[in-house]
C-alpha cells in the first residue's frame, strides 16, 4: 500500500470526538484542511520530461525547418545588389582627398569632389542610397541623451526652454538653439548627387527622392514643427538660434517643400534616429524605379558621385569630419528584399544551426541507443 494514501484512508472516515469541545453544540468546525486540488498540491498538470521520444524528433525537426529557411535567406541576401563607395578621402589618390584636408577656405564657398564608379550589374526596382559612417559613436550615452524630444515635437515651451540634456548645445548667442543638443548639431551635411555617364559621354543627373526615407511615425508623430506663424517657419523659429555647426537655420533645411522643412525635414529625422552601433548606414535618398518597368533603375555603366561639402563654421576642415577618429564615410547603393538589405548572417546562421541540430540529433540518437536504454531501464535501487 502506498505510504501517502495510508493516512488518508485510515483517517478520513473517522469521527473525531476531540473536536467536540472546541465549539458549541452543533456548529463544530473541524480543522481539517479543505480537500481541494490546489491546497493538496494535486492540480492537474502537464509534466513534460526530456525523453528520447521528444528530444530527438525535436532536433531533427529543427534541423529540417532551419536549413531550408537558412538557404532561403542566404539566397535572398545574395540576390540583393549592393554597391559601396568609400569617399572619406584618406588616400592621396582619392578624389576627395583635397577637400578633406585642412585647407583654409573661404567661408562662403564650398568644396566638392567627383567620385567615378562603375556598376557591372543593373539595379532593378527601387534603389536605396545610403550614407554610411563607421566608428561614429552615435550611441554614446552623452550623445544619445543630448536632445529634447519635446522640442522636436513642436512644444512651444521646450522650443524656448530646451532640456538641460542639450548642454552644451542648448544656447548660443543668448538664444535657444533649435533643434538643440549634440545629435542635431552634428547633422550629417555632405550633399551627395549621382550622375549617370551615358556611353556617349553625356551626364544625366539621377533623380534622388528625398522624402519617404523616415519612419511614418517619426515624420507624423514624433517630429512636429511648432505651431503658429501661419506656416511661416522663420517666424516660428525667430527667437531661436541655429545649431552652432549648421550653416543655415532649421527652417531653411528644405525651403522648397514646406512638408520637409523645419523639424520634419526627413534628413534631420533620419539623423536624429540614432544608430545602435558605431558603424551604421542611414537612408539618404531613394532612386525610384522607372515608370515603364522596362529599363532597370540603374543600368550597368559608369556613374559619378558628386560630393559637396558644407563648411562647418567652427571647424577648419571643409568636410564632415570623421578622419580624426578613424571614421569612414561611404555611399551605398542597394536594392531591398522582403528581409531587408544585404546581410548574409541570418542565412548562414540558420543553415549552421539547422545542421548542428541535425548532427546533434544523430549523435544523441547514437548515445541514446548505446547508453540510454541501459540506464533508463535499470531498476532504481530501493
Amino acid at each position: 500500500m502506498m505510504a501517502s494514501s495510508y493516512n488518508a484512508k485510515e483517517e478520513d472516515g473517522h469521527h473525531h470526538p476531540g473536536s467536540v469541545g472546541s465549539g458549541g453544540p452543533g456548529g463544530v468546525k473541524s480543522k481539517k484542511p479543505d480537500n481541494t486540488a490546489f491546497k493538496q498540491q494535486r492540480l492537474p498538470a502537464w509534466q513534460p520530461i526530456l525523453t528520447a521520444g521528444t528530444v530527438l524528433p525535436a532536433f531533427f525537426m529543427i534541423g529540417l525547418i532551419f536549413i531550408p529557411i537558412g538557404i532561403g535567406l542566404f539566397v535572398t541576401s545574395n540576390n540583393i545588389k549592393e554597391f559601396e563607395i568609400d569617399y572619406t578621402g584618406v588616400d592621396m589618390s582619392s578624389p576627395c582627398f583635397n577637400c578633406s584636408q585642412n585647407y583654409s577656405w573661404n567661408s562662403t564657398s564650398s568644396c566638392s569632389c567627383s567620385v567615378p564608379f562603375t556598376l557591372d550589374q543593373a539595379f532593378e526596382s527601387n534603389v536605396f542610397m545610403y550614407y554610411g559612417l563607421s566608428n561614429f559613436y552615435q550611441n554614446h550615452r552623452r550623445y544619445v541623451k543630448s536632445r529634447d524630444d519635446s522640442q522636436l515635437n513642436g512644444d512651444k515651451s521646450s522650443l524656448l526652454n530646451p532640456s538641460k540634456e542639450c548642454e552644451p548645445y542648448r544656447t548660443s548667442d543668448k538664444k535657444q538653439i533649435a533643434p538643440c543638443g549634440a545629435i542635431a548639431n552634428s547633422l550629417f551635411n555632405d550633399t551627395l548627387e549621382l550622375f549617370y555617364i551615358h556611353p556617349n559621354g553625356s551626364r544625366f543627373a539621377i533623380n534622388l527622392v528625398k522624402t519617404g526615407i523616415a519612419w511614418w511615425t517619426d515624420k507624423h508623430v514624433k517630429f512636429r514643427n511648432p505651431a503658429g506663424g501661419d506656416g511661416n517657419l522663420s517666424i516660428v523659429f525667430q527667437d531661436t538660434s541655429k545649431p552652432v555647426n549648421w550653416r543655415k537655420p532649421v527652417y531653411e533645411l528644405d525651403p522648397n517643400d514646406p512638408d520637409n522643412n523645419g523639424f520634419i525635414n526627413e534628413d534631420l529625422i533620419v539623423w536624429m534616429r540614432t544608430a545602435a552601433l558605431p558603424t551604421f548606414r542611414k537612408l539618404y535618398r531613394i532612386i525610384q524605379k522607372k515608370k515603364d518597368n522596362m529599363t532597370p533603375t540603374l543600368p550597368p555603366g559608369d556613374y559619378i558621385l558628386e560630393v559637396t561639402y558644407s563648411i562647418l563654421t567652427i571647424n577648419v576642415t571643409p568636410d564632415y569630419p570623421v578622419r580624426s577618429f578613424d571614421g569612414r564615410k561611404r555611399v551605398i547603393l542597394s536594392t531591398i528584399s522582403w528581409m531587408g538589405g544585404k546581410n548574409p548572417f541570418l542565412g548562414i546562421a540558420y543553415i549552421t544551426v539547422g545542421s548542428v541540430c541535425f548532427f546533434l540529433g544523430v549523435v544523441l540518437l547514437f548515445i541514446h541507443h548505446k547508453y540510454g536504454n541501459r540506464n533508463n531501464n535499470a531498476d532504481i535501487p530501493n
Binding site: 561614429f136 559613436y137 552623452r142 534616429r273 552601433l277 522582403w338
Partner: protein, 1231 residues
C-alpha cells in the same frame, strides 16, 4: 489572545529591590513602577512612516538600492532614470510596510482590548470596576472565576478551602493542566472582608522584575511579622483562574514588568543554509559587479583617450580621462545593479510563505483523532526541510504513544495471548478482523481493553487458582487510585487528578465506564486494567484497605504495608490481609530481581516462565514477573515492629528499610509473568525505514532507561537484528568511555587514521573544522547511556564520540537530560556540515528543538511547550516522512530552481549591458529601454518564476514517498551550491552573448525591408528586449516540470504582457503626454513587423536553449540521476505500484526488556501517608517536594501524560463551576 511573540518595552534603569505597600498609591508612586497598561505596538500613525522606513533601510538590500537611487540623482553619473530604481524599491518597501502596518494594527487592537479589560479594584475599602490599564502596583484587586490574571499578584485570599486557587497556565508555558497556588494563612484569614482588605497595609519587599517564571522571592511584612514569599503565593499575569469563585491579590508587578511580558523577548532567528550561502554569494556578486565596473571604467578611460578625444567635434566633454572613467564606474554600478536583485529577498519570503501554507493545508498531515492539522510555525525555513541529514527524536510521546497495553502473560508455565489456528495450531497474526475476547459478563470491564486469546478468559471462568492468584496480585499490588464516577465524571476526574497530584509528572487516567483509574505509570494502569477486565476489579482504596471485586464478589483487603518501587529494588510488594485473615505478600518486579528471591521449589516453573519471558522480550514487550508469599502472622507483627522503628530512625533510614524489605521478600512463589506492549505511534517503523532509505540518520535521545530505549529501538526498526553490531557504551569513567568508543570505531573501520577526519574549512571565518563523513561497511548501531554521554560530550572527547556515532546508522542515547539533548544537537551542528532536525513533544525537548536547525513539535498529549518553541508541529511522528520527503523536498527543489533561474535571468539581463559597453564607447549606455528595465523584474518575469516556485514538483507526493532516495540530493546541496551558481553565471554569460551578438550580426550595417536603417538604437533595443524575454521564458519552460493552469497563465500571460505593455508604452498617446519618457514611440510597430526580427528572435532563443537541452538530455542518457530515473518510471506507470505491506517485524532474541514503572520513586509513600486524601495546608508543598516533584510552574517539567484514546483535548472547556461543589464536598468529608 496571546502575548507571545510580541516585543516588550525595555526598562530604563535597573531596579535592585522592589518595595510595595498595599493600599498606598501615594507611597508606591514614588518608585515610578510601570502601570498595568501594556504597549506591544511599535508605531503610532505619526511615527509609522519614519520608523518603518528606518527599519527597512537597515536591511542591506534596501540600503543598497537607496544608495543606487542617490547615485542616480547625480546627473553626471545617472545612466538610468530614477524611476528604474524607485518603482521596484517603492513596491518592495510598500509591500513590507503594509505587512508591518497590519501587524501593528493588530497589536494595537489587542493592546487596547487587553488594556480595557475590566477588573475589580479595591479602592478605599470599596470595590470599583476599572480598566486593566488603571491598575497600579500596590493595588488590591479581586479576580473571579475564569478571569485572566491582571498582573503579577501576591495571592491574599481565596474562596476555596485552605486559600487555594487553581490556575491554568496555558498562556505561559502551554500546559493545559491546572496548577494550585496557595496564599499565606495570615492574609488568607482576611477572606472576603473588604474592610480588612481595605485596611491591609502589608509591605512587600521582593525581587526586581525578571523573566523567571518558576521563581519568586520576597517577604511580606504585616503586623510587624515577616513572612517569606515564594512562587507558591504568586499569580502571574497570563494565567487564568479556574474553579475558584474569587480571590484577592496584591499587585506586585504590572504591565511591562510582569514576568509574562519580561519573558516575551526576541526569539532566536533561525536561518537556512541557503540563506547563509546567499550571503556568501551576494558578496561574490558584489565582487563581480565591482570587477565588471572596473573593467568597463578602464575601458572607458582608454576609449576616451583614443577615440573620445577626437570625437570632440560632435560630443564635447569637459572632464579629463581619469575623471570620466571614475564617473563611468559609478554609472555602470547603476546599470549593472540588477545582478543584485532587489526582488530576490521578497520573492524568497513569498515562496517560503506559500510552501508553509501547503504544509498547513496538507490533509495527509492532519490528525483526525485530535483534530490537529500540521502547522508551519516558522515560515522561513521551508527549504531546509529538504536537506535534513540528522533527525534527533525524543522517544516517549514521539515514537511511542505512551500507552501501555497488556498483551500477553504467562501463568503457571502456560503462555496466554497468542491466537492459534484451530486445527493446524499455527500462530495467527492479530489483525483488526480477529475477534477480541468478550468481557460483557463483567459490567465493570473497560470497553477499550482488547485481548484476543480466549483461553485465558476460559481459565478465569474455570476458577483456576493460579490464574486467580495472578489477577488478584495485579489488582492488589500497585499504587493506582480508583475513582467511582456517577455523572460529570470527567470534571471530577480532572479535579481529582490535580487534587491528588497537583503537579505530578506522571499521571495517567484510565477512564472506564464509571470507574476511573489514575496510575503513576502507564504500565501499572495497563496491568490493573487487565485484572479488572478479567474479573478482578480494583474498586477503591483507603490508606488501610484495598477493595476489589473478585468475580462479582466484593472483598476488602487490609493493606498492611507497601514496599515501594525504586530503581535499585526494581520491584514492589504489598502485604495484605485477606478478608479471611490470611496474610500475603504480593510482589511484582524485574525478572532478574525476582528470580533471585524465589523459593527453590519454583525451579521448574522458572524454566518454563523464562522461555516465555524470552519470547515476550523477543517481540519487544516489556515484561514483569509476579510472585507471592504467604506470611506468618507472628513473624509479620514482629517485622512490622522493626519496620516502624526503622522508618522513624534518623540515621540510615533508607538502608535499614531496604534490609527489612530484602528480608521479607524472600522465598516467594512464582506465579507468572506479564508482557506489556509500549505502543508505538502509528506508522513509526515505516517512517523510520523511509527516513533511513533517504539516508537520514536518526538519533534517539530519550530520558528512558537503556533497556527500554533499546527495546523501542528494536521495535521501531531503528536497531535491527541484521545489523553487524550494536555497540553499547555504558562506562563509568572518561577513560573507559573513550576506550569503548574507540573500540567500536576500530571494529567498524579497522584502518582509521587518526587525523584525517578533520577538514579545516573556513567559511567567513566561522567554522574552524568539520568532521568528515566516513563511510563504513555494514550497518552498526550505538547505544550510549546518560552517564557515558556526559563524559563523551566533554570537549576532549566530543570529536571521538561524534566520529564513532556518525559512523553508525542509528544512535540511541538514554537517560539524557534536556541540556544534554541540546548539547548533542549542538555537537553535530558544530562539526558536521549537515542540517539537523529535532522532534519531540515534551517540555524536556524544548532545548533540543531550539538548538536544532529545524525543530518539530508533536502537538497533542504533553502540553504545548514543545510546539510553542518549534518551527513545525503536527500530531504524529509518522507525518515527519511527509514533511521531509514531500514538503521538504519540494520546498528545497523549488527554492533552488527559483534561485538558479532568478540568477540566470538577472545575470543574462545584465551581462548584455556589459557586452554592449564595448560598442558604445563604454559610455554606460543601456541596451534596453528604461521602461523595460523597470518592468523586467517586476512584471515580465516575476510571475512565471513565482509560479514555478509555488507549484513545481518533479514527481508527485506518491512517488516521492515511494523513492525516498530522491531526498538525497538535497542533503548534498546538489541543487543549489556555489558550483551551481557558477554554472548559472556561465550559462548567463553564454545566453547574454547570444542575445547581444545575434541581433548585432543580424542588423549590422544593413537595412530593413522598407529600406530604412536596420540598426537604429531603439529598434536594436526592442529586438534584444524581445530576444531576452522570449529566451528567459523558454528557459523557464524548460525548467518547469509541472505545468498547471496557473503556470500556463503566468508564463503566457507574462509573455503577452510584455508585448501588450511594449506596444502600450510605444504608443502615440503616451508619447504626447511625456515625449522625453516615451521616446520609443512607434518602435514596436515599425520593428516587430519585420520578418527579420522574428527570425532573429527565434534564432537567439534556440541558440540559448539548444546547449541546455542537449546537455540535459545527454547527462540524462549517460548518467541519469535518481530524479530522471523516477520520472522515467513515472512516465511508464501513471501511479506508483502498490508496495507490499511490510510484515510485522518480529525478532527472536534473548534481549530481555526491562521493567519500567517509572524512574522516580513510586507513590507508595503517598498512598499510605494519607496525604492524598487529607492535605494539611502547612505541609502540603513540602510533602510534594519530598516526592521529587515541585509544584507550580516548572518549565522543564515533564508530564508524561497517559492519554487514552478518548481523552478530550481541551480540558478547560470541561472545567465548569458545577464540579466545584463536588470537589469541595470531597475535601470537606475527608477532614
Amino acid at each position: 489572545m496571546s502575548f507571545f511573540g510580541l516585543d516588550c518595552v525595555r526598562k530604563k534603569e535597573r531596579e535592585v529591590e522592589r518595595k510595595i505597600r498595599a493600599n498606598d498609591r501615594e507611597y508606591n508612586s514614588t518608585f515610578k513602577y510601570a502601570t498595568n497598561s501594556i504597549k506591544t505596538s511599535k508605531y503610532n500613525p505619526f511615527t509609522f512612516l519614519p520608523l518603518n522606513l528606518f527599519e527597512q533601510f537597515q536591511r542591506i538590500a534596501n540600503a543598497y538600492f537607496l544608495i543606487l537611487l542617490i547615485l542616480q540623482v547625480i546627473p553626471a553619473i545617472s545612466s538610468l532614470s530614477w524611476f528604474t530604481t524607485v518603482v521596484p524599491l517603492v513596491l518592495v518597501l510598500s509591500v513590507t510596510a503594509a505587512k508591518d502596518a497590519i501587524d501593528d494594527i493588530n497589536r494595537h487592537r489587542s493592546d487596547r482590548k487587553v488594556n480595557n479589560r475590566k477588573v475589580n479594584i479595591l479602592i478605599n475599602g470599596k470595590l470599583t470596576s476599572d480598566k486593566w490599564m488603571n491598575v497600579q502596583v500596590g493595588d488590591i484587586i479581586k479576580l473571579e472565576n475564569n478571569q485572566f490574571v491582571t498582573a503579577d499578584l501576591l495571592l491574599l485570599s481565596s474562596s476555596e478551602p485552605l486559600n487555594l486557587v487553581y490556575i491554568e497556565t496555558a498562556e505561559l508555558d502551554g500546559e493545559t493542566n491546572l496548577k494550585v497556588k496557595q496564599s499565606l494563612t495570615v492574609t488568607g484569614d482576611m477572606g472576603e472582608d473588604l474592610g480588612a482588605l481595605g485596611s491591609f497595609n502589608g509591605e512587600v519587599c521582593c525581587e526586581p522584575p525578571n523573566n523567571r517564571l518558576d521563581r519568586f522571592t520576597g517577604t511580606l511584612t504585616f503586623d510587624t511579622q515577616k513572612h517569606s514569599l515564594d512562587n507558591e503565593r504568586v499569580l502571574l499575569r497570563g494565567c487564568t483562574l479556574r474553579n475558584t469563585d474569587w480571590c484577592f491579590g496584591l499587585v506586585l508587578f504590572a504591565g511591562p514588568e510582569t514576568k509574562l511580558m519580561q519573558n516575551c523577548g526576541k526569539s532566536t532567528f533561525k536561518r537556512t543554509s541557503i540563506d547563509r550561502l546567499m550571503n556568501v554569494l551576494v558578496l561574490f556578486i558584489f565582487g563581480l559587479l565591482a570587477l565588471m565596473c572596473i573593467i568597463l571604467a578602464v575601458g572607458n578611460g582608454i576609449w576616451e583617450n583614443q577615440t573620445g578625444s577626437e570625437f570632440n567635434n560632435f560630443l564635447p566633454r569637459e572632464e579629463n580621462t581619469a575623471f570620466s572613467a571614475f564617473l563611468t564606474f559609478w554609472s555602470y554600478i547603476i546599470i549593472l545593479n540588477t545582478v543584485v536583485p532587489i526582488s530576490l529577498y521578497v520573492s524568497m519570503e513569498v515562496i517560503r510563505l506559500g510552501n508553509s501554507y501547503y504544509i498547513n493545508w496538507d490533509r495527509n498531515m492532519y490528525h483526525a483523532r485530535s483534530d490537529t492539522p500540521a502547522e508551519a510555525r516558522t515560515t522561513t525555513l521551508n527549504e531546509e526541510l529538504g536537506q535534513i541529514k540528522y533527525v534527533f527524536s525524543d522517544k516517549t510521546g514521539t515514537l511511542t504513544q505512551n500507552i501501555m497495553t497488556f498483551n500477553k502473560c504467562s501463568i503457571n508455565g502456560k503462555s496466554y495471548g497468542d491466537v492459534y489456528q484451530q486445527y493446524s495450531g499455527e500462530r495467527l497474526e492479530i489483525t483488526e478482523e480477529t475477534t477480541p475476547v468478550d468481557f460483557s459478563f463483567n459490567p465493570l470491564a473497560d470497553p477499550k481493553f482488547l485481548f484476543y486469546d480466549h483461553s485465558l478468559i476460559e481459565a478465569v471462568k474455570l476458577e483456576l487458582p493460579d490464574v486467580q492468584a495472578f489477577f488478584r496480585l495485579l489488582a492488589l499490588c500497585h499504587t493506582v487510585m480508583a475513582e467511582e464516577k456517577k455523572e460529570g465524571w470527567l470534571q471530577n476526574t480532572l479535579i481529582n487528578l490535580f487534587l491528588t497530584y497537583p503537579s505530578s509528572q506522571h499521571q495517567s487516567l484510565c477512564l472506564v465506564g464509571h470507574l476511573v483509574y489514575q496510575a503513576q505509570s502507564p504500565d501499572e494502569g495497563a496491568l490493573v486494567t487487565a485484572a479488572r477486565n478479567f474479573g478482578f476489579v480494583f474498586r477503591s482504596r483507603s490508606p488501610e484497605t484495598i477493595t476489589i471485586e473478585e468475580m462479582g464478589m466484593q472483598r476488602s483487603y487490609e493493606l498492611l504495608a507497601i514496599l515501594d518501587f525504586n530503581n535499585v529494588r526494581k520491584r514492589m510488594s504489598v502485604i495484605v490481609r485477606s478478608p479471611e485473615g490470611k496474610l500475603s505478600l504480593y510482589c511484582k518486579g524485574a525478572d532478574t530481581i525476582i528470580y533471585e528471591r524465589l523459593h527453590p521449589s519454583c525451579r521448574k516453573l522458572m524454566e518454563a516462565t523464562t522461555d516465555h519471558l524470552n519470547e515476550f522480550a523477543g517481540e519487544g514487550l516489556r515484561t514483569l514477573v509476579l510472585a507471592y508469599k504467604n506470611i506468618d502472622e507472628d513473624y509479620f507483627s514482629e517485622w512490622k515492629q522493626r519496620h516502624h522503628e526503622s522508618s522513624v530512625a534518623l540515621e540510615d533510614r533508607e538502608e535499614k528499610l531496604d534490609e527489612l524489605y530484602e528480608e521479607i521478600e524472600k522465598n516467594m512463589m512464582l506465579i507468572g509473568a506479564t508482557a506489556i506492549e509500549d505502543k508505538l505511534q502509528d506508522g513509526v517503523a515505516l517512517t523510520i525505514e523511509q527516513l533511513a532509505k533517504a539516508e537520514i540518520k536518526i538519533w534517539v535521545l530519550t530520558g528512558d532507561k537503556q533497556e527500554t530505549a533499546e527495546n523501542i529501538g528494536y521495535s521501531c526498526n531503528l536497531l535491527r537484528e541484521e545489523m553487524n553490531d550494536v555497540f553499547t557504551v555504558a562506562a563509568h569513567s572518561p577513560e573507559e568511555v573513550r576506550q569503548e568508543l574507540r573500540d567500536a570505531r576500530l571494529k567498524m573501520k579497522p584502518s582509521t587514521e587518526p587525523n584525517k577526519f578533520l577538514v579545516p574549512e573556513v567559511i567567513l571565518g566561522n567554522t574552524p573544522k568539520l568532521v568528515q563523513d566516513e563511510s563504513v561497511e555494514g550497518e552498526y548501531g550505538l547505544v550510549i547511556n546518560g552517564h557515558s554521554l556526559a563524559f563523551a560530550l566533554e570537549s576532549g572527547m566530543e570529536l571521538e564520540f561524534l566520529r564513532t556515532a556518525c559512523m553508525c546508522k542509528t544512535v540511541i542515547c538514554c537517560r539524557v537530560t534536556p541540556l544534554q539533548k541540546a548539547q548533542v544537537v549542538e555537537l553535530v551542528k558544530k562539526y558536521k556540515k549537515a542540517v539537523t532536525l529535532a522532534i519531540g513533544d515534551g517540555a524536556n525537548d524544548v532545548s533540543m528543538i531550539k538548538a536544532a536547525h529545524i525543530g518539530v513539535g508533536i502537538s497533542g498529549q504533553e502540553g504545548m511547550q514543545a510546539v510553542l518553541s518549534s518551527d513545525f508541529s503536527f500530531a504524529q511522528f509518522r507525518f515527519l516522512q511527509r514533511l521531509l520527503l514531500v514538503h521538504g523536498r519540494w520546498s528545497y527543489l523549488r527554492m533552488c530552481k527559483f534561485l538558479r533561474y532568478f540568477f540566470y535571468k538577472n545575470f543574462t539581463f545584465t551581462f548584455v549591458h556589459f557586452w554592449y559597453a564595448f560598442f558604445c564607447g563604454f559610455s554606460a549606455q543601456t541596451v534596453y529601454d528604461e521602461g523595460f528595465i523597470t518592468l523586467y523584474n517586476l512584471v515580465y518575469t516575476a510571475l512565471p518564476v513565482l509560479g514555478m516556485s509555488l507549484f513545481d514538483q518533479d514527481v508527485n507526493a506518491g512517488w516521492s514517498l515511494e523513492f525516498p532516495q530522491l531526498y538525497v540530493p538535497g542533503q548534498l546541496s546538489q541543487y543549489f551550491s556555489k558550483r551551481a551558481f557558477m554554472m548559472c553565471v556561465l550559462h548567463s554569460c553564454y545566453s547574454s552573448l547570444m542575445i547581444f551578438f545575434v541581433p548585432y550580426a543580424a542588423t549590422y550595417d544593413t537595412a530593413r525591408a522598407d529600406g530604412t536603417e536596420g540598426a537604429d538604437y531603439q529598434s536594436f533595443a526592442l529586438i534584444t528586449q524581445t530576444c531576452l524575454t522570449v529566451t528567459v521564458c523558454v528557459q523557464l519552460g524548460l525548467d518547469l516540470s509541472y505545468w498547471t493552469v496557473v503556470n500556463h497563465l503566468f508564463v503566457w500571460g507574462s509573455l503577452g504582457m510584455f508585448f501588450i505593455l511594449t506596444f502600450t508604452m510605444y504608443t502615440d498617446g503616451l508619447f504626447r503626454i511625456r515625449p522625453s519618457s516615451f521616446a520609443f514611440v512607434g518602435t514596436a510597430r515599425n520593428c516587430l513587423n519585420q520578418p527579420n526580427v522574428w527570425l532573429t528572435v527565434a534564432l537567439t532563443a534556440l541558440l540559448c536553449v539548444l546547449p541546455v537541452v542537449a546537455h540535459r538530455f545527454f547527462s540524462c542518457q549517460i548518467a541519469p540521476t535518481i530524479n530522471d530515473k523516477v520520472r522515467n518510471k513515472m512516465r511508464e506507470m501513471k501511479e506508483p505500484a502498490p508496495r507490499p505491506r511490510h510484515p510485522r517485524l518480529t525478532r527472536r532474541s534473548t534481549r530481555r526488556s526491562g521493567y519500567a514503572f517509572s524512574h522516580a520513586q513510586g507513590y507508595g509513600d503517598l498512598v499510605t501517608s494519607r496525604r492524598f486524601l487529607r492535605r494539611p495546608a502547612t505541609s502540603r508543598s513540602t510533602a510534594f517536594n519530598s516526592a521529587g516533584r515541585s509544584p507550580g510552574f516548572k518549565p522543564t517539567g515533564r508530564s508524561a501524560g497517559y492519554s487514552p484514546v478518548g481523552r478530550e483535548q481541551n480540558p478547560k472547556q470541561k472545567v465548569e463551576p458545577t464540579s466545584l461543589q463536588k470537589f469541595r464536598t470531597v475535601i470537606d468529608s475527608s477532614f
